[in-house]
């Protein structure tokens, strides 16, 4: 069993983002960048499944400029086994991210793809569903709990007015909510170690 976790490099949630003077875009050239918080939860969930012995390999993927390597190294420090960087020169709309991920999923053949439900920069909340639609795979969005057994995944979803439990067969695409877990704290030596990988 293999899990693919999709991670995005975004402006740190504590940075107050400013608009460029001509209003053409946001000015983030000098901003501190971090791993998207929702994706941290996705990584944590994948690592927990691995610690339970339910998955053998956790692969992290990021799409963007070469700086995304930092994001992938953070994912490795958190316990991912391998990182894939798809380098692009420009930033892409969710539909194109989903298209790139479709190719990666076809290559890697994961049993489960985990993503954060949204990125804190554009707040689009699209990629997981688009990927599932493109691949015609079952989807479970806004997940707050996962239980995996016998090639089936029971997912608790946060929906308007309450919760919904669904059972999806694998392979499947799952987007996670912040409530799914509390990502662990990574120690500096772990972060230093992965610099060499």
């Amino acid at each position: 069993m293999k899990i693919l976790v999709c991670v995005k490099r975004v402006v740190d949630s504590n940075v107050r983002v400013r608009v460029m003077q001509d209003n053409s875009d946001v000015d983030i050239a000098l901003s501190k960048m971090s791993l998207n918080p929702f994706d941290e939860n996705a990584i944590e969930e994948a690592i927990r499944l691995k610690e339970l012995g339910l998955t053998q390999e956790v692969v992290a993927i990021s799409i963007g400029g070469d700086k995304c390597e930092d994001t992938l190294r953070t994912a490795l420090a958190r316990g991912c086994d391998r990182g894939i960087l798809v380098e692009t020169l420009v930033s892409h709309e969710p539909i194109n991210i989903a298209k790139i991920l479709t190719s990666v999923v076809k290559l890697e053949q994961p049993d489960l793809v985990l993503l954060g439900k949204q990125a804190i920069d554009d707040d689009s909340n699209q990629v997981a569903q688009m990927l599932a639609g493109k691949l015609n795979l079952p989807q479970a969005t806004f997940a707050s709990k996962l239980r995996l057994s016998d090639n089936k995944l029971e997912v608790t979803r946060e929906v308007d007015g309450g919760i919904q439990n669904i059972l999806v067969s694998l392979p499947a695409i799952v987007s996670v909510d912040l409530s799914i877990n509390e990502p662990r704290f990574i120690k500096l030596p772990q972060l230093m170690q992965v610099k060499k990988r």
Binding site: V17, E93, P94, I120, Q126, E154, E158, G162, N165
Partner: protein, 310 residues
């Protein structure tokens, strides 16, 4: 311009935000078509004046999820110039899946329709408003319900088409159970008054007792900050903010909420904001029209008492 609105049923009733989506659609065209997905038990079909045709897909609740609904309607999507759904948990689950299968882009959480191809939406936790221009022949939009008023004009009759198209079950997804909180309480999306509590309430008992009673006295809905939800004081569906609900009631009362930017993103369009907090430096006061510095454990009981005496 050919506009389609997709809506769903919840417990046999039409999703109450349909009227808001219709008023958003009204910015694009005088009339639109509606696809209504799900069984109707307690409501009859909508007869709003702006609806051309209603196509009703009366599929069972147990099958009303994106894996089944997306293929059911996606071949009809390209007939339209605009497709609008609510940015609620149903719409946010469904529309991007359709977008992905048709390889179309989508504009999420539209708060204003500027022209047929330019849309306004919040980014960076609502700190920045972006204008997005879409070049797609079919524009897929999820609509931030709180930013559009209810459409109210009714027509004498409706063009109604019931579609008994064969729904093929897909065993790859099965709904096991659903627990939707009491529908008799005031709907937070349409409430005129929202009373929200934060982590300063210290316990679920305090939260229910103080925030719940105050909301009840004001016939309002209960909201919560993320901190309060994570501490288990309130359920997830009450959460207001960037990752929860975006609301715009007439009156928003923030009790013991410091006002993190993520929370502000969810309530800053409220008409009147009243903040009650013991910390005079709490950022919520920057957004409040009326602020009260005080201990909520004395202020709120007093307020409830005064209200119940009137």
């Amino acid at each position: 311009m050919k506009v389609l609105v997709i809506s769903n049923t919840i417990n046999g009733r039409i999703n109450s935000n349909l009227s808001n989506i219709l008023s958003a659609a009204n910015n694009l065209a005088e009339c639109c078509d509606v696809f209504l997905i799900g069984k109707l038990i307690q409501d009859s079909l909508p007869n709003y004046k702006c609806i051309n045709n209603v196509e009703h897909y009366p599929i069972d609740d147990s099958l009303n999820h994106a894996l089944i609904v997306a293929p059911l309607i996606s071949n009809r999507i390209l007939d339209y110039s605009h497709v609008l759904v609510a940015a609620d948990s149903y719409g946010k689950d469904l529309l991007p899946r359709i977008a992905g299968s048709l390889y179309l882009s989508q504009v999420s959480e539209v708060s204003e329709i500027i022209s047929p191809n330019i849309f306004k939406r919040a980014i960076y936790a609502g700190n920045i408003l972006a204008e997005i221009e879409s070049y797609e022949a079919t524009k897929l939009l999820t609509i931030r319900v709180a930013n559009f008023p209810s459409y109210t004009s009714l027509a004498a009759n409706i063009n109604y088409k019931q579609l008994n198209s064969e729904v093929v079950n897909d065993i790859r997804t099965k709904i096991l159970f659903e627990s939707i909180s009491n529908v008799d309480t005031v709907d937070i999306n349409t409430a005129e008054v929202i009373v929200s509590g934060g982590s300063a309430l210290l316990s679920k008992d305090n939260f229910d007792h103080l925030i719940g009673s105050l909301a009840f006295q004001l016939s309002g809905a209960v909201g919560a900050s993320r901190a309060a939800v994570e501490s288990g004081f309130a359920t997830n569906d009450c959460q207001i903010g960037q990752t929860g609900r975006i609301v715009a009631p007439k009156v928003y009362i923030a009790v013991g909420i410091s006002g993190a930017v993520q929370h502000i993103a969810g309530m800053k369009n409220s008409q009147v904001v009243i903040a009650i907090n013991s910390d005079i430096n709490a950022p919520i006061f920057e957004y409040a029209d009326y602020g009260m510095v005080g201990d909520l454990f004395t202020v709120i009981p007093e307020l409830i008492n005064k209200l119940s005496n009137n």
